[in-house]
Symmetry: C2
Subunit: 222 residues, 2 copies
């Protein structure tokens, strides 16, 4: 699973003052910060936290590595910043009854689109090594699970919701990191149908039917 499409800035060793067509304005602090964040997201997603080096990130962003420490302080803080961006937006902007399907489709879309936000890959690849990553995942996962649990009237609703979240993560792991076939190339609609059908009883608590989200026939793609 090669990514292959990134910002095109390479580490230019010479950096001479000759007439090079610099693709970005120099001395643009906000732009530089953003490029570092994007490059960090890509490198963390590809290699995981430990294997990613700040020299790699700086090279990909086209900046000197000292700038990374000026802007973010440390490699760990950079990872935290990468993880923090855009984490909860989906959570607060999606009605709870559609939350799981939305999150699932987000996970499924990640493998396909090359330029999709690689947040999930960063999470998955950094969980094993970085100290802050499991905490971030746990905190985010708990909020998702709590929102999901509110839908169910079962007394162990939170556990059920976390089981559903675990399935999300596992599917993402298999598709994005491991790349197992045929799962990795399967149609999102097909996977979505299977998963939602299977979870119907787990999340829908039995009394009220799960609603449209659990219909076997997948809805039209958004």
């Amino acid at each position: 699973m090669d990514i292959g499409e990134h910002t095109r800035h390479q580490d230019r060793p010479g950096g001479g003052p000759a007439g090079e067509d610099s693709p970005h304005r120099t001395r643009d602090a906000r732009g530089t910060r953003l490029r570092i964040l994007q490059a960090a997201g890509a490198v963390f997603a590809e290699r995981g936290y430990e294997a990613a080096t700040v020299r790699d990130i700086a090279g990909r962003a086209g900046v000197n590595q000292a700038l990374i420490f000026r802007y973010f302080g440390s490699k760990q803080a950079l990872l935290t910043e990468v993880m923090a961006q855009g984490g909860k937006e989906q959570l607060v902007s999606t009605p709870p009854d559609l939350l799981f399907e939305t999150a699932l489709r987000g996970v499924l879309a990640e493998g396909g689109k090359p330029d999709a936000d690689r947040l999930l890959a960063v999470y998955l690849r950094s969980i094993g090594s970085a100290d802050a990553a499991p905490d971030t995942v746990r905190a985010l996962g708990e909020e998702y699970a709590a929102a999901l649990a509110a839908l169910s009237s079962a007394d162990d609703g939170e556990l059920r919701a976390q089981l559903a979240m675990a399935w999300l993560l596992g599917i993402g792991l298999m598709r994005v990191v491991v790349g197992q076939e045929p799962l990795a190339s399967a149609e999102p609609d097909e996977i979505c149908g299977h998963v939602l059908t299977a979870l119907e009883g787990l999340l829908g608590d039995g009394k009220t039917p799960g609603g449209r989200a659990a219909e076997r026939q997948p809805e039209e793609r958004r």
Copy 2:
């Protein structure tokens, strides 16, 4: 999750020829090799591949680190060896219709028992970083999925089986690595009941509509 119980050999810097009561026979190649493998499994499981150092492993095993390279050649080869041991035993020794529940219970038991085989933790923590880890996981997962797929008459049986395997991995990830509550401390029986019920329609028979399976409640409601 403190381990706390291992071979008690520490790296002794002096190593004087005085009358030291060595708790293991010296010059025992097979025993030394085994101790290295066990120590490597523990350290890889705790820290992940990248963060684990051969000096740590050697220290935990009570041997000189040069021995690790004599016995295994490289750190990567050591990881491969650790992953290879005992991977497929369960696969070939379990009838297919019990395979999923057996694997699930193995995953669930891992968090509780401190001295359980940490193979899953090694997998999960090393997936993000090591090169060979995803390949090993993919190969092993494909065999499990193939065995599971043989049970189903659906034409996409393999996909369904891999979805089930993904759930396994995700639950393990949440329990062992992330440690999310209440999932991490939940009773294996309870989780097992939920998961098996939910997967009934997915793995059982592709022809049976999923809604039917979700209609019945889990048998014992705690």
